[in-house]
């Protein structure tokens, strides 16, 4: 086989291997092998110092029998329900407003995008202060006395508000790019027919922007399923609403690195990845009903 390659082709092949080598070696050592290890560890008990003992499905049995785990699963799904539809709808609204010939478009874009470059830890800290039950400005403005972060009823909602606030500019910028690709002539032809704005939105804008909308949806869903940093910052171990706002990834962190139960932690992360995969597959099936790729 080798003999059949010309000298130049063989040289090209060697260069190819040489140039992908650092990346491939890195990915195998840093990702592929750890993935296998995590999968294996989920069937093991961690005995300390990196030693694992095979215990079969015990971690999964423990997990499925554990109320805290199911609560975390529900919290994660509830968080997605709160953030994804509202966040994307608001992002689309902002994108449409920016797409209408406004002045200072760049300035508005810069402002809406600002939270993206701020560390979530710092963002969460600021919102802890705004949400503070005693002296927080939000309660003062609304004239209420809600313990946003420590009341089990509002804790997930509070994190969801921060999450939407943080990511809305990013989604809006992506959707704006999608809107700008819609040919103006489509609207012009339509307005001659005297179609109303609302009708225009449903017959032109929405179908034309649906591919972008779909990719934003998938991205936002995946990110929301993995929510961790904001919750870590807002729910310390002393927060009475901790288990009421704890997401799967936060439970994973606490099980693996606070409690040190790495086998159990691995089972949680495998479960979460499975869940993400499932949700994504459902979305890819569902897209056939509403995403239009060819007009």
């Amino acid at each position: 086989m080798n003999n059949k390659l010309s000298a130049a082709a063989r040289r090209e092949e060697n260069w190819g291997w040489f140039m992908v080598a650092p990346t491939i070696i890195g990915l195998v050592v840093l990702n592929l092998w750890p993935f296998v290890q995590t999968l294996y560890a989920s069937f093991c008990e961690h005995e300390g110092f990196g030693h694992y003992k095979f215990i079969g499905l015990q971690n999964y049995v423990d997990m499925f029998m554990n109320a805290e785990f199911w609560k975390a699963t529900w919290n994660t799904i509830y968080f997605c329900i709160l953030t994804v539809p509202v966040g994307i709808a608001l992002a689309l609204l902002i994108a449409m407003l920016l797409n209408a010939n406004v002045r200072f478009k760049g300035g508005f874009r810069t402002i809406f995008f600002l939270p993206l470059v701020c560390a979530p830890a710092a963002v969460a800290m600021v919102w802890r202060w705004i949400f503070n039950g005693e002296y927080g400005i939000l309660n003062q403005i609304l004239g209420v006395k809600i313990q946003w972060i420590t009341d089990p009823k509002t804790a997930v909602l509070a994190v969801a508000i921060v999450s939407v606030w943080s990511s809305i500019g990013y989604d809006a910028v992506l959707l704006l790019a999608g809107l700008q690709n819609i040919p103006k002539s489509l609207y012009e032809a339509n307005s001659i027919d005297g179609a109303g704005k609302v009708q225009q939105f449903f017959t032109i804008t929405l179908p034309m922007v649906s591919p972008t909308l779909f990719s934003v949806l998938i991205m936002r869903l995946m990110a929301s399923m993995k929510i961790y940093d904001l919750i870590y910052m807002m729910a310390d171990e002393t927060n009475p609403a901790l288990t009421d706002m704890q997401s799967l990834m936060y439970l994973f962190y606490r099980s693996s690195f606070v409690a040190g139960d790495r086998g159990y932690g691995s089972a949680i992360v495998i479960w979460t990845v499975g869940l993400i995969l499932l949700v994504t597959l459902v979305q890819f099936q569902g897209q056939k009903k509403w995403v239009t790729y060819d007009i």
Partner: protein
């Protein structure tokens, strides 16, 4: 006549509504930052006034001094800068090489190897964390800059992204260089790499912002306060000052500042860099 008047009026109402919602949105986006800055200059009793005062009575740096006294900010800045720097250099260097090879060179096993890249991209990073941490611990490298950089030594996303950049360069460019006597490395390094400037800038910004904001990995791997990043260091303040919000706001402001300043200078590059990469 009447018709054009009512058309004009509905146009004006439309415009007014557009600006109203945009400005309302902008105020909601800006307010938390403004409130952070204002609170950072208030005394504790002042921050707890009911009804609250908007502006602080004085302009003072006491809260910043206290934040710096309780958190080694100089170390945090330095660690964060080094982590971001090395992650960016590794991502750009290795991803450019691999992206070029995957886009332009013929070699056996290419599809399988690219499959590894795609697998990594589609899995959330948390699935790798425990084994990665165990590797770092086994090497005795916990609480080092190396540990902070470790998961970012290679970037599957960077390879995928730069491969697209190289694919958009016509093959003729490389062939011309090859005929001029460049070998594959020279073609890549002297001719092709400089043509991917915009994409490299985007990858740089994306990698930097992501590394800077990351919280779980630095918390897991560097528990020594002096070896933390701005993100993980700031998170330790949360238990230390439960009610002293002026100090917490001063600390948050210090942690945010470097990236926000860079963002305000390179707005367009940041927005296009982060949004253009499609995110992760």
């Amino acid at each position: 006549m009447k018709n054009t008047n009512s058309l004009k009026r509905s146009y004006m109402i439309n415009k007014a509504l557009t600006y109203f919602f945009l400005i309302l949105g902008a105020v909601i986006m800006i307010f938390p930052f403004l409130w952070m800055i204002l609170t950072s200059s208030k005394t504790v009793p002042e921050s707890m006034l009911i009804p609250p005062t908007f502006f602080p009575k004085q302009l003072m740096l006491d809260n910043f001094k206290e934040a710096i006294a309780s958190l080694p900010f100089a170390n945090l800045y330095w660690n964060t800068i080094l982590m971001v720097f090395f992650r960016v250099v590794c991502a750009v260097l290795f991803s450019s090489m691999a992206g070029y090879a995957f886009a332009k060179l013929k070699f056996r096993g290419k599809n399988i190897l690219f499959g590894i890249v795609l697998i990594q991209m589609s899995l959330p990073s948390q699935i790798f964390i425990i084994p990665q941490y165990q590797m770092v611990a086994k090497m005795g490298m916990a609480n080092t800059i190396f540990a902070l950089v470790f998961p970012g030594l290679v970037s599957a996303f960077g390879v995928f992204f730069l491969r697209q950049a190289y694919m958009s360069i016509p093959d003729e460019v490389g062939e011309a260089a090859y005929l001029d006597g460049c070998n594959q490395w020279q073609t890549f390094y002297k001719i092709m790499f400089p043509l991917t400037g915009t994409s490299v800038a985007a990858l740089t910004i994306f990698t930097a912002v992501f590394a800077y904001g990351d919280l779980m990995w630095p918390l897991v791997v560097n528990s020594d306060l002096k070896m933390m990043t701005l993100s993980s260091g700031l998170s330790t303040l949360r238990g230390q000052f439960t009610t002293n919000f002026p100090v917490l706001m001063a600390g948050s402001l210090l942690a945010m500042l470097p990236m926000v300043v860079l963002y305000l200078i390179f707005q367009r590059q940041f927005v296009e860099g982060i949004a253009g990469t499609g995110g992760k």
